[in-house]
Symmetry: C2
Subunit: 240 residues, 2 copies
């Protein structure tokens, strides 16, 4: 099960995240979460406690807690012998993730619609413009970060303390795999429905926003359906 990826240098630009607020564990967890969501962690890749600690320049202790936290959200997998790795994807799990997203996220969007205002529509448009640029540029990492920002700008507005964490967990689960697929087929084939969503927000049309989000999920996940479950590409696509 050893992957021949060269682990020459450890610095995956993890500590590049400038967020210096909060406790050390908080910073570590935020850093890991961000790395997961932008796909800097490859599924199947083992994650060692001391290695991460060294990368981040801290002791293994806060890393331990952060990993445990992420594992509880199913963003990481802790094998019975304690080794931590990014979960590998299976077609079944991906299908389940899509269905779970379709159950929760459109509902969240519907609730958010009532609280979103034209200012939010402008903010979303700004994000979406940047997304279009990143798609053209083929910058998968930036795209994923912005796409996440777009969706969660909507979801957060719902003010849901229950649904939002569930959806966050789902994103953490499919993001690493999504990144791999983007690395293979590129980001050009992406069809999102952000424009419809923005229009719905601007006009305050809840059901339209709900439907746009649902379509967006279907479009985004469709791309992932038949790609790359088997192994990690030995072409090291983790950095840059």
């Amino acid at each position: 099960m050893n992957i021949p990826v060269a682990e020459a240098e450890r610095s995956d630009s993890l500590e590049a995240t400038p967020s210096g607020r909060g406790s050390t564990r908080e910073r570590v967890e935020r850093s890991l979460r961000h790395a997961l969501l932008t796909g800097r962690f490859v599924p199947g890749r083992p994650v060692t406690l001391r290695g991460l600690a060294q990368d981040l320049g801290v002791s293994p202790m806060p890393v331990r807690e952060a990993l445990r936290s992420l594992a509880a959200e199913k963003a990481l997998d802790i094998k019975p012998n304690g080794r931590v790795q990014v979960p590998t994807m299976t077609p079944e799990r991906l299908a389940e993730l899509q269905q779970a997203r379709l159950m929760l996220e459109p509902e969240l969007a519907l609730r958010a619609a009532a609280k979103l205002n034209p200012g939010d529509a402008r903010a979303l448009k700004e994000i979406d413009d940047a997304i279009d640029k990143s798609i053209d540029g083929g910058d998968a990492e930036t795209y994923m970060r912005l796409n996440h920002a777009f969706h969660f700008h909507v979801y957060r507005a719902a003010g849901s303390e229950v649904l939002l964490p569930l959806v966050e967990s789902l994103w953490l689960q499919f993001a690493p795999f999504m990144r791999i697929v983007y690395g293979r087929v590129g980001t050009a084939a992406l069809e999102d429905h952000h424009k419809e969503a923005i229009a719905a927000v601007a006009s305050g049309d809840g059901p339209a926003l709900q439907s746009a989000i649902a379509s967006d999920i279907r479009g985004g996940m469709k791309l992932l359906q038949g790609a790359g479950y088997e192994a990690v590409p030995d072409t090291n696509s983790t950095k840059d």
Copy 2:
């Protein structure tokens, strides 16, 4: 383990969980999870790291990780100063929890139906008979344990790696509050739909099972709607 277990046991209720397998952290987490699900932790009550460690006869270390894990599942709340407490319930959060349950659990039941066999129906009937007894006896803690066993016997059959953890998180969130309500209004007023569910399992009728679970959720949560958000009762159920 070179730990001198010369400590006088402060509480029998926590380490009473017989599961002695696995690592210490695993046992601690299982113990806490069980305590949460059966309502032995009162919402709003502060949970201290060292206190719990002493109760369980271990060092604060595994407790720390277990708490962090539970907190990631929203079963515990870590305040900005680091203090841990069982989350308090609000009407809004309870309504969200019910709606989230209704989104996920009937779907899970529908998927489980295809894999449940008459043997499962018999097992469920056995659990349900015990539930009836515990309701008559007014034993809220036993009722909650069995009710959880009943539902998750069904849900687990679905074999879902994605939906099941989400539902587990939801249960951990409303269970402590549910326990308080039972302590106030008793368990006699409970109306469950387990009989319908068992019949549906026996006949392999998926939609019927789905509908029975949905009705069961509505019936169970309705009881909680207008009760006891304000303060925690002084009845200290864990120790002292």
